[in-house]
Structures are given as structure tokens and as C-alpha cells.
Amino acid sequence: MDLFEQRKVYTVFEITSEIKQTLDKLGVLWIQGEISNFKHHTSGHMYFSLKDDRAQIKAACFRNSNLYLKFRPEDGLEVIARGRISVYEPRGDYQIIVEYMEPKGLGSLQLAYEQLKEKLRKEGLFDDAHKVALPLLPHKIGIVTSPTGAAIRDMLRILKRRNASLHVLLYPAKVQGAGAAEEIAAGVRYFNTRKDIDVIIVGRGGGSIEDLWAFNEEVVARAIYRSEIPIISAVGHEVDFTIADFVADLRAPTPSAAAEMVSGARDELSATVVSLQGRLARAMRRGIERRRLELERLARSRAFSITPNMIRDFQQRFDEATLRMIQAVRKLTTETRHYREMLHTRLVKVDLRQIIGRRREIVARNWQHLISSVKARLQKEHSRLELAAGRLDALSPLAILQRGYAICKDERGAILRDAATVSPGDRVAVNLAKGGLDCRVEDVKT
């Protein structure tokens, strides 16, 4: 029983409180471990475990603490967390309440930068398709930066040196420290509410990664992405790349370079316009000159130059022809009249009897001539006839019989040329030059 009397019996709550007090004595401590089972509750609180190869401990990072984390915790990430061990009495759990943590190895800012960059890249905030070209000739530019920083000083110096006729509107914003990102984003949003801003420049001078951090914040990236007005990001030095640089339509390596970008085109454009004006005038002058030359050439060409002459020539030729025609007609009339008169005179003078007598003579002479030529012709035809008769005679069968040949015919009167066509006993007739013979065939020799 003593044992029982001596023993101290705690209630569950008492022992839990005891444990809690003991753990509280540990105070603020640092723990290194790997995050696992990470959950970001809709309340904003984060719940996870920290583990190593032999143990694990539950951890919670409440909203008011994790808001200031520069990176996004995730499973598998090795972190160093600062916090207190606390006991969650209703469940008897103990856990570390993390107030701050940073990734081991990589600086937390660097990691946060990489994480946000990857996230926004996946969302398409850096896509070239979203980027718009700067206007060729901006008139009014909005600058979001510190009114007392090096950036605005550098930009104004460049604009002054380039004698750029630009209207600059400065939105004064904190560019580092708490609330800077919000102010920068507000500046971008403000300029978008105006209708008169051609280009926005957001930027600041050089500094450490912490100094430039505002330009790596999501709120700035999103404000730039949503801007309807083209934005140049001009943060720090050439080597500094911020998230804002990736989202912006154009990255200027430095604020001075941004000022060059918005003012540089003016001189070139001015030169372009002057050159175009020159070309315009020259083209027109050339066009007119070309037409004038063409006109002159045409005017000099035969087709045109001959025409007046030709008309003159034709006129002259026509006139001459007319004159000559009139003269010719007149002459012809006169000649005709003379001729008729002459004929008449001759006709009157002619002795008809003499003419008739002469004609008779001609007729008589021709008559004689006709008779004698007919006679001669008859003579000629007669001798031709005699000649032909002689030759005909020579060809006559009678003349052949005369030379001792005979014609032998069968009973039908057909002339026999082949002994085989008759047989012994046939009667044949033989014609001689004078008279004929009726014969009987004694024998046939073939």
C-alpha cells in the first residue's frame, strides 16, 4: 500500500502540462531535416514533418509566419527550421512550431527565385506570344521607381542628353524592403488606368539580391503580366536577372539602357522621315521628268513631226493637182473642140466618088488574090491525095496476092492460118490474085 501512498498519480492533463513545460524549457531551437507529408491548409497554415534517416517530428508553420517565407516549402526539401517544441494537448502530440526556415544549401532567396520562376514559366507568364512591341515613338512614359534612387537620376540624365522630347511621369515607389513589391505593382496598375501612357518602365539601380528582391515577387510579376501598356523592366545591373525581367515585354540591362530604348528611336525615325520625304520628292520629280522626256520624244517622233508637213504637202499637192486638173480639163475641152472642127472640115472636103473607086479597086485586087490562093490550095490537096492512094495500094491484100500469095478460107469463109484447124476431106476455098479455087484437103501437115 505504501507504494501506492507514495506514488504520485497525474491526470492526463497534468502530465501533458508537465511535458509541455519540460519541452518549453528547450526554448527556441534550430532543427535540420527533410520536409515530408507537406500540406498547405486553406487556412494558410502549413503542416508537415521533418525527418532524417532515424526519426521524424511533426511541424507546423502558421500563416502569420509562413507569409514571410522567401521560398515555397515542399516535400523532399532539406531545411533548417527555427521554432519551439510545443505540445498539442487535445491529441497529446508534440510538434515544432516553425517560425522561420530556410532551405539548406541553396540560399532561401535563390531557391524562392528558382521556384517562382519555374511556376510562372509553367503558367506562361514569360511566353513571347504575350509580349508586345514598344511603340516606335512613345510620347509619354510612366516610370515606377524610387524618386530618390539612382535609377530615376540615370534615366533622366540620359533623356536630357538625348534631348528626347518625352513627357515623363514618375510613380514614386519603394523599391526595396517591406511593401516594396506591392507599391511597384500598384504603380504598374495605376499607369494602366490612364489612357495617355505609351510605355512603362519599372526598375531600380543595382544592389544585392535582397535589395532587388521586390522585383522577384509574384505580385510584381502578375501586375506586369496583366499590363496592357508595354513594360520595360530595368532592374540593377546587366548581370541581374529578376522575375520582372522575364515577364516584361522588354528587359533593359540597366535603367540607363531603358531610357535609351524609349528615346533612341526618335533620331532614327526623324532620319527615316527625312529620307522618305526625299525619296517621295525624287520619285515624283523622276516621274514627271520621265513623262516630260517621253512627251518630248513622242513630239519629235516621225509620227508627230511629219504630220504638219504632211498636211502642208498634201495641201500643196492637192492644190497643184486641182490646178493641173482644171488646166487639163480646159485643154481637153479645147482640143476636143479643135479636133471636131478639124474632122468636120475634112469631112466636108472629102470626095466620096474617089473613095468608092479606090475601095472597088481594093476589092477587085483581093478577089484575084483569093481565087489564085484557092487554086493553089486545090492543087496541093490533089497531089497529097495521089500520094496517099499510092501508099494505100501498096498495103492492099490484092497487091499481096498479086505478088503470088493465096488466101485460104474454110467452108464458113474464115481465113485459115493453122493447118490443124482442118481435117482431110474438108473443103477449103483459096483466093488467088485473079479468081479462086475450091479444094478438098488430102492431107494435113502440122
Binding site: 524610387s146 518625352l166 522618305l276 517621295l280
Partner: protein, 82 residues
């Protein structure tokens, strides 16, 4: 003839087009003159646009009632924070 273009980019583009057309030289004279006239107007417009903006630097000041107003910005006041 009313100038159709209102902004510098479009004006410059049409001026380039007009010059190219004229330089091609195969236009009817009437058309060429018409284009030339338009080209002259556009180039005047471009020059005017180039001259238009005055160099002015202003800063925005938030007033007590939350509105924003513009005030001249002294360029010499800047400096200090880098």
C-alpha cells in the same frame, strides 16, 4: 483630303508604301500626283509627331483624399539611395 492615319507607326508605314509605289513608277499620272500629295501630308504629320511632345518630367503625388495628382519633378532632388 483628310489624313486617315492617326498614329506615327501607321503614318510611317503608309509613307513607306507610298514612296515604294511612286518609285515603282508605273502609276498613272493622276494617281501618282494623288499619292504624292498624300505622302507630303503624311510626312508633315510624321514631323509634327516627332516634334510634338515637350520634354517634361512630373511626379505623382498622393493627396489626402486618396486621389493622385501630378507635380513638376525636380531632377536635381534625386540622389542618395542607390
Amino acid at each position: 483630303m483628310e489624313l486617315k492615319v492617326k498614329d506615327f507607326e501607321t503614318a510611317l508605314k503608309s509613307l513607306e508604301d507610298i514612296v515604294a509605289q511612286l518609285e515603282a513608277g508605273d502609276l498613272a499620272l493622276d494617281k501618282a500626283l494623288e499619292l504624292f500629295e498624300e505622302g507630303v501630308k503624311i510626312s508633315r504629320f510624321c514631323n509634327a509627331k516627332l516634334e510634338e511632345a515637350e520634354r517634361k518630367v512630373e511626379t505623382l503625388i498622393k493627396t489626402a483624399d486618396g486621389t493622385v495628382k501630378e507635380a513638376p519633378f525636380s531632377e536635381d532632388q534625386s540622389g542618395g539611395e542607390s
